[in-house]
Amino acid sequence: MNCIVCVTSVPDTASVIKIGPDGKKIDEGGIKWILSPFDEYALEAALQLTEAKGGEVTAVTYGPARAEAALRDCLARGAHQAVHVAGGEATLGDSFTIATVLAKAFAGRSYDLVLCGVKGVGTDCSQVGQMLAELLAIPHVANVTKLEVGDGSLTAGRDVEGGQERVECPLPALITCQKGLNEPRYAALKGIMAAKKKPVEKVEVASLGVTEGADPFYVVRSLELPPPASEGTIIKGEDDPAGAAAQLVNLLRSEAKAI
């Protein structure tokens, strides 16, 4: 059971976002970069599978130099190999180009299962996994919160509105992983030390025949902070909660027309 886990390095979800001088990207000053939280579920699922069935976990990222930290994090938690396709500054948010680069980077590697996070936190597109599956000509199941892998096939639970789809699928396949699938482990100190010594294979994006930015499928015209929220009507309800409740319901009916 060989697994490839696609990971990405993203701003910590608690980061304050500022717009950079070009008005198209964030200002990266002061940002702490982390492994995208959903990728943790993907990595954990891969680690559990290989622990149970043998085989190796390869973590792959396509990103700038700092993305190596996300790979080190994966190695520290138990991934066997790591591949860093260097680049990605010009293709941020361009799911199709990212999927194309990953698909090319997979050439010559053997895998039974490819695992991605359900979305890369930040660009929030939720598309790379499905596109990668199409480019690799394998089936996929997205938004997986339950997984059983048997001989040559998997059964997955995928959350949809008001229900869950039970999906059966032959291997090789790709899944995108959602919260609820497992409880990701933390890296132990021993793992962190060992990860520092493990090699990270470097791949130049140009060697895959992709010229970044030459033919984008996602062009950012501008990036803005949300408009400041207008002052709401806040009622003091400590002394007369019932009066406040009546006033609120009245406003929702007559002013907001929301009920």
Binding site: T13, G93, D124, S126, L132, A142, V167, R221, G232, T233
Partner: protein, 320 residues
């Protein structure tokens, strides 16, 4: 001028409201003809009615193997409809199905896709989309770089569905090359008859301020009085008070109801990521400095245990 194709989602032949919103948006934007593509088994009867929302033609892929959703099978059907219409854009509603299908279709057609779009306008022959990024801490204005078709997924309940009258001409898609490997064996109902938060027009959510699982009864009573759904913060879900399917936020569901009431929820950025595009936001919190008040249109500073019961009574009075 090339038209716009809209993927129409149905469950048991019930057309999703979010798909009609996408269809109406296509009609508002289209330079050419608007076409719909409806996929399923025994669904053709629902096709002509799509004309009322602006579809001149409705392409129907009707096959027993498409009764339940399949990314591969549905992508084949949409690609066939795209081949028949050569659209400048293909729109999807950003439901669980649409979010899954749009990128698979896009890659099949060799193009990218713009996800979770909250505004879509025309600039010459390009569609220009606005979408929240960094969990709604910023908004990006983007386009598809001149590639066609431009595949776009629209956030549900942000665009208005408008009935304008008309009947769609039904065109059957045949010769589908269905090679479905990932097969949905069943759709298990986990809703238990409740409205799913992702679909609800009114949501009442509870957080850690509820102090315990039994107090979700209070949230539920207000939700029921309003005809809405029950939502929750991650703190409440992680405490095991309520199932994850109720969670709103970055690692839960993204919702845009017309009314969102947050009780005992502080308003962490990851929670706001899931609900800040709601039309009217109400906060009930005893801490006047809770961040949720910054984005609330209305609020009560007070104890939710003292505020919610009289609210339920007031709402019931309205209903008469």
């Amino acid at each position: 001028m090339a038209g716009i194709l809209v993927f129409i989602e149905q469950r048991n032949s019930d057309i999703r409201k979010a798909s009609l919103q996408a269809l109406s948006q296509a009609r508002r934007l289209a330079g050419g003809e608007v076409a719909a593509v409806l996929v399923g088994s025994g669904v053709a009867g629902a096709a002509p009615g799509l004309g009322a929302y602006g579809a001149a033609k409705a392409y129907v892929a009707d096959d027993p193997n498409l009764a339940l959703y399949s990314a591969e099978g549905y992508a084949e059907a949409v690609a066939k409809a795209a081949a028949a219409t050569s659209p400048e854009a293909i729109l999807f509603a950003g439901t669980a199905m649409g979010r899954d299908l749009a990128p698979r279709v896009a890659a099949k057609l060799g193009v990218g896709a713009l996800a979770d779009v909250v505004s879509l306008e025309r600039d010459g022959d390009r569609l220009v989309a606005r979408r929240p990024v960094y969990s709604g801490k910023a908004f990006a204005t983007v386009d598809a770089g001149g590639h066609t078709p431009q595949v776009v997924t629209l956030r549900p309940n942000v665009f208005a569905a408008e009935e304008t009258g008309g009947v769609a001409e039904v065109v059957t898609l045949d010769g589908l090359a269905l090679a479905i490997r990932a097969v949905v064996k069943e759709l298990v109902d986990t809703g238990g008859g409740e409205i799913d938060v992702a679909e609800a027009d009114i949501i009442v959510s509870g957080g850690r301020g509820l102090k315990g699982p039994e107090n979700f009864a209070l949230i539920r009573s207000l939700a029921e009085a309003l005809g809405g759904a029950v939502g929750a913060s991650r703190a409440a879900v992680d405490a095991g008070w309520i199932a994850h399917k109720h969670q709103v936020g970055q690692t839960g569901k993204v919702v845009s109801p017309s009314l969102y009431i947050a009780a005992g929820i502080s308003g962490a950025i990851q929670h706001l990521a899931g609900m800040s595009s709601s039309k009217v936001i109400v906060a009930i919190n005893k801490d006047p400095d809770a961040p949720i008040f910054k984005i609330a249109d209305y609020g009560i500073v007070g104890d939710l245990f003292a505020v919610i019961p009289p609210m339920v009574e007031e709402v019931k009075k309205l209903a008469g």
